[in-house]
Symmetry: C2
Subunit: 469 residues, 2 copies
């Protein structure tokens, strides 16, 4: 038993787990068992199941999209599925920490679909072996807390009203319902000069990131924080903005990776960042949990302005921010001319399954020929989207009522409390902990160990097994 395991088991008084990571008295402790998954050494990780039907002789004469093929290269080989260099373990706190035997490892993977699959497989195998085990997954930054009733009752009401002549509505505006757009503007952007018609309601930030990639097309260059949410890079690869995957450095060609580590306070050294058309910037960051300060964001906006770049600012965790740290890029003067902001109800109200977000494209943002970016984004939205579900939008409106806002703050407070427990636990164990202040993400340093090693240590398994997953 490792020191880490020893401590964890030692602090548990209620757990019947074989591994009781986190199961100390300050948590509600449940029951867990750890499974040893039979591992295929040197096996190739395939992320979609194959079947005998694949042997069918007939093939069309349509060539596979080479850009997606690039992406596949990033996850079909086992060396990419293991992170040998990473020495940080990401932990997502937005779960009810009764017990924990799976970690949100996928975010530090070059390919999160693969990691997700692996975690999913392990979970399934575990459940098969221990059907009574209560497994709580810490993966994907998912939410676990029920949605406050003030919000679900509004959705239920809207759903039921759809059965009445007066309450029925068909296609809504692709950009979202007017009252919701107005409430978003007044709630999150009051005095920032963002207006109702700058806001496009969507089915979530992930969908909007893809729509933004379609908007900009294949000829733009992009920069991204490293590490960051993998959908920025993946969607860029799919659109053909990048070169091939370079196995030696585990990076795609033509992408400007902006190193964000404890050494630079998780903010890139902009003097060393090459000019790109698009700069993806996530703050509070997924996965490091760090939030850029006002001074840092002023630098970022100036950098974009000097270079004529467009920032795509992902503020999905903005409500976790406290103090003077900006919640929106539009708090920075001049940002409206260089930035788009994408946001979501997912992590405030537990809408990960309900699907509701929004993207702000200020009318002040222009292409080099002076054409407003918002006009083209409107076109993309109208051509390839038919609006978020009207029931979800009713929920969104309820989120922004005084009671809804209070309820969301409570949800955020709950996850922040969990975060603090994780921070305290790891700190007391002697580990260096980052993030967790303005975000539900905690970034823990395990010197000299890979993430998979730490994962396997916690599970009480042989670390070397994981290298060949």
């Amino acid at each position: 038993m490792s020191v880490l395991q020893h401590h964890l088991v030692a602090t548990s008084s209620l757990s019947s787990s074989t591994s009781a990571f986190f199961a100390q008295n300050s948590f509600d402790v449940g029951r867990t068992q750890v499974v040893s998954v039979p591992l295929k050494k040197m096996g190739v990780c395939k992320c979609v199941a194959t079947s005998p039907a694949e042997q069918t002789a007939y093939k069309t004469q349509v060539s596979r999209n080479g850009n997606i093929a690039k992406l596949q290269a990033g996850y079909l080989f086992p060396e990419v599925c293991t992170i040998t260099s990473a020495s940080y373990l990401l932990i997502v706190s937005n779960v009810n920490l009764k017990l924990c035997c799976y970690f949100a490892l996928e975010m530090i993977f070059k390919d999160f679909s693969c990691a997700k699959l692996q975690i999913g497989r392990r979970k399934a195998a575990h459940m098969l072996k221990h059907p009574d085990a209560e497994v709580i997954s810490l993966g994907i930054g998912d939410t676990t807390e029920p949605i406050p009733e003030v919000i679900t009752s509004a959705m239920a009401k809207r759903a039921l009203a759809l059965s009445t002549v007066e309450g029925y509505s068909g296609y809504g505006a692709e950009q979202g319902e007017k009252p919701l757009r107005a409430r978003l503007a007044s709630t999150f952007y009051a005095n920032l000069g963002i207006e109702e018609d700058d806001i496009f309601v969507s089915d979530g930030a992930k969908s909007d990131i893809s729509r933004l990639q379609v908007l900009f097309g294949s000829n733009v260059t992009m920069a991204v924080q490293d590490p960051s949410y993998p959908a920025y890079v993946d969607s860029s690869v799919i659109m053909g903005q990048t070169g091939q995957f370079q196995k030696d450095v585990e990076k795609f060609g033509k992408i400007e990776y902006m190193k964000c580590t404890p050494e630079n306070d998780f903010f890139p050294d902009l003097s060393k960042v090459a000019r790109t058309d698009i700069i993806f910037f996530c703050s509070p960051n997924n996965p490091t949990g760090s939030a850029a300060s006002r001074e840092q964001l002023i630098q970022l906006v100036k950098f974009a302005k000097d270079n004529g770049s467009i920032i795509i600012y992902d503020s999905a965790y903005a409500m976790y921010v406290s103090g003077d740290t900006p919640k929106s890029i539009f708090e920075i003067p001049g940002a409206k001319e260089v930035a788009i902001e994408t946001a979501s109800f997912s992590k405030y109200a537990g809408f990960t399954g309900v699907r509701l977000g929004w993207t702000v494209v200020p009318k002040e943002l222009k292409y080099s020929d002076g054409f407003p970016v918002a006009k083209d984004f409107n076109r993309i939205v109208c051509t390839g989207f038919n609006g978020a579900s009207n029931i979800a939008q009713a929920g969104g409106l309820a989120c922004l009522s005084p009671e809804g806002l209070e309820a969301m703050h409570e949800v955020v407070g709950f996850y922040k409390e969990n975060t603090q427990i994780i921070v305290d636990t790891f700190t007391s164990l002697g580990f260096k902990v980052y993030g967790g202040k303005h975000a539900p993400y905690v970034w823990v340093h395990f010197p000299g160990q890979s993430s998979w090693d730490v994962f396997s240590e916690i599970l009480g398994e042989d670390p070397c097994c994981y290298h060949t997953w």
Copy 2:
């Protein structure tokens, strides 16, 4: 007063309308008034409002996506916004035909955003002038009938359950919830060899069409029925698959337009159709209302197979089909090797605002290198989508219960009854009517008149005004 108007007013016994199109005794007659919208002669149609902010001096150095610029060219000029050559008027029956003063003209436009805007403007102007008028829009193939309670109560129940610990769920599978995928397979594809894992649940067919375009990328060629739902062409242009818009023929370069007119029974003469990678085929067709027969679909599948093409079959109106006419392309032997099918709950259950659809990508469908298309589509879905709203999915599952199916058939029956009224009315007026049998779309021939002319005649306005809209 034209002959058409005269007849319509003459057959109305209850209407107080100045124009009472459709207001004959067989309809529930309401009250309508027609507005004369001040028209700017030779004005340019702009589809997004401009504002003083556009005068801001700062521009980024990001080039506008040239593909979207191509698209804009298709609707910024007034000659494209009027259809001078069309002599058919599309009428969508899926409304409660109490009265009618707006027609679903947008589908025969080269650019439906523009037409929609124009119709929207006229409606707004009308409502401003006549605030008491009860306007029923026949645009966009929207639905007007309330959703059956068996379906909304399931959605309300799911929404409320999200406030409970037991009923809460976060991120679902991007491909959709397993029970819904299974039920879709057994309901619509029983005995057709389509399995649960071939089905990707989505927020609607329009979104899936765009995702399919991203899947295939910019290097494929595409064919499309002419006329057809404009999103196929628009999304193809956005992805860079096409050439520029050619004003003389009102078509985009590099697209194979397959003429579908009464002369060829709305089915293309495949001996004259050039080989393309992708063939968009909508049946029952939006806007002509025609459904391809079994023999025609056998020809289509053979054509695709001979050419190694992939058919994207839009079956959004399949439940309107009666008799032996196929409801799914997969009823045709061999289709699984050459076809994708996209479908929707919108027109069966009034889900246009709720947003729920699905796309079938059979595992038998392969690229020229043998790689399964479904694997790449799965990748697209996982990267740029997070699944349809769980509440909408609960509604979808209820739609497929015995009671839900019965309720959907009632909704479809209602719209089909409306359709028959339109068919009978126009036939009795001496017009040649197409469609309307397997679809809620009716395609009426007005010899020697443009669609706008017919529209304006019905409104009792001067036809020539519309040419410069």
